[in-house]
């Protein structure tokens, strides 16, 4: 079973076809890259997968279950986590709390259990804190746990966002330009990090990225979009030498 099946997905915004009949299969456990010039529809695709947009056409299956049209919070609860192109942290919450909010999708205490501090709620709180600390260890942000998220350095914020996405215990992780704004050293660390979490946490990872070096090095397969359409797909080697890909990048002066 492929973890994600996208069949002829299209997204129209009042006349503009941001995504045009894209079909994509994501193999369980792989690291897949989605690349393409700016405006090619990459983030839109992410937004469709996570339920922020309802596709105008097409079908989306997550573990053989139809998710197009589902609300974002339900999709998150099914086990799809994501980071955002323009970092979306909870600025005035602490680093620790940011990750704890990430656990919301896998916890259940309701209003009454929380108000009355019922044993189930307290247990869940402990478990949440434990898991959050584990994740902060993973991204090396433990000593900053009481900082306001908005006060973190850019790179730290990106790591925090990943930790928060992982708090959902996802099986599919979507990373939107995780390397943006990083220097070479940091990108090396990022690549190692992505590989390790994929292995350790049994994840499937889809990356949107602009840095070709990063993409070619870490992705096992790559899908190329241009003007909302899929123009190529394959291993890094295949894609690198694909005529159409070269054209689209040269054409947009990349």
């Amino acid at each position: 079973m492929n973890i994600l099946e996208m069949t002829r997905i299209s997204q129209e915004f009042g006349g503009l076809r941001a995504v045009d009949t894209v079909s994509l299969s994501v193999l369980t456990g792989e690291i897949l890259g989605i690349i393409g010039p700016n405006g090619a529809g990459k983030t839109t695709l992410f937004n469709i997968i996570t339920g922020i947009y309802v596709p105008t056409e097409g079908e989306l299956l997550f573990r053989e279950r139809r998710i197009d049209g589902m609300a974002p919070h339900d999709i998150a609860r099914l086990g799809i986590g994501r980071t955002f192109q323009n970092i979306r942290l909870f600025g005035k919450l602490s680093v620790l709390d940011n990750v704890r909010v990430g656990r919301f999708g896998v916890t259940h205490s309701g209003l009454w259990s929380c108000l009355l501090r019922l044993p189930a709620a307290r247990r869940e709180e402990k478990e949440t804190e434990l898991r959050a600390m584990e994740l902060l260890e993973l991204v090396d942000l433990v000593d900053k746990r009481y900082e306001y998220a908005e006060n973190l350095a850019y790179g730290e914020q990106r790591r925090l966002e990943i930790a928060r996405a992982l708090a959902l215990d996802p099986s599919l992780l979507l990373l939107d330009e995780p390397g943006a704004g990083m220097n070479t050293g940091e990108k090396e660390e990022l690549m190692a990090f992505i590989r390790s979490i994929r292995d350790q946490l049994n994840l499937t990872i889809i990356l949107v990225e602009h840095d070709m070096n990063l993409v070619m090095n870490i992705c096992e397969r790559i899908t190329v979009l241009d003007y909302g359409r899929k123009i190529a797909e394959g291993t890094p080697a295949q894609v690198k030498n694909d005529e159409r890909v070269i054209q689209s990048y040269l054409g947009s002066g990349a």
Binding site: F13, N47, I52, F84
Partner: protein, 290 residues
């Protein structure tokens, strides 16, 4: 009977429209609900009152009130809103606006007392027959003046360079700044124009209903705001349409339903519009970029 009520509604609606324009233009450009706007309207009515009492005719009163309120509006923007621009949340600007509103209405209460003052007779109660309709000269004058002001505004916005700058700023303030538009000046101007229109509305309401009082701005302000939302907040034609519609609906409501609920009509409409079609009659649906 129906036509008379319609005419009454349009007359009331014109005043709502004039006030609503100020709300909508300011909201369009700085995303602020200018709660002090109702008080500017009230000040306009009082300035008109002073001028008329002093013996000047209605047109001088109108112009005087408009000039005064133009300055008032610009002053408010400079003192209470500009320092907050870009720095704080929208909520702070809102609260600052409320502070100004309280300040201004209290100022007038201190000066004139909270009671109603009557406008001296300005145009006599002359009426004339239009078919089977009993129409007052005053109504016609009000409608004409309001229409004139709105047309002038539309033309100014569409055809002049300044108007273009205003439109640009309401679409994208930052980009306009980068294009060399003196954004501060345009914002000031927006406040000035909106305030002048509200003042005109105030004078006309004062004359037509023959009453002004320091708190008249609060209710009229809220209703005009509802009118702006009805038409589509941020849209100039929307404010005009919304104002006229609301005036008509309110008068019709009083005539055919019940007068004691008249204040609630505006707000019921407001809520319904926001639930069913938040972008208003004329406004455009905005989708969020994620």
């Amino acid at each position: 009977m129906f036509w008379e009520q319609l005419l009454n509604g349009l007359t009331l609606g014109s005043s709502y429209a004039l006030i609503a324009l100020g709300y909508t233009m300011v909201y369009g450009i700085v995303q602020l609900i200018n709660f002090a706007h109702g008080e500017v309207y009230m000040f306009g009515a009082f300035v008109g009152l002073f001028l008329v009492t002093a013996g000047f005719n209605i047109f001088v009163a109108l112009l005087g009130a408009m000039a005064f309120c133009m300055l008032l509006g610009m002053l408010i923007e400079r003192v209470a809103y500009r320092p907050l621009r870009g720095k704080s949340s929208r909520l702070s600007a809102l609260i600052s606006a409320i502070g100004v509103s309280i300040f201004l209405s209290t100022l007038m209460v201190l000066y004139r007392g909270p009671n109603t003052t009557r406008y001296p007779e300005v145009l006599g109660g002359s009426t004339f027959q239009l078919g089977s309709l009993q129409v007052s000269t005053l109504q016609i004058i009000i409608l004409l003046i309001a229409a004139l002001l709105m047309v002038v505004l539309e033309l100014a916005i569409k055809k002049t360079r300044v108007g273009k700058a205003m439109r640009a700023c309401s679409q994208d303030l930052e980009a306009s700044k980068l294009m060399g538009v003196n954004v501060n000046r345009i914002i000031s101007l927006t406040f000035a124009v909106g305030s002048a229109l509200a003042a005109a509305g105030g004078v006309m309401v004062g004359i037509y209903y023959n009453a002004v009082w320091p708190y008249m701005g609060t209710m009229a302000g809220l209703k005009a705001f509802a009118a702006a939302v009805l038409g589509g907040i941020g849209s100039v034609p929307g404010a005009m349409i919304g104002g006229l519609t609301l005036g008509v609906l309110e008068i019709m409501g009083i005539a055919y339903l019940s007068s004691s609920y008249k204040d609630a009509i505006a707000f019921a409409i407001l809520i319904l519009v926001l639930i069913i079609r938040p972008q208003g009659l004329v406004g455009q649906k905005l989708s969020k970029k994620v």
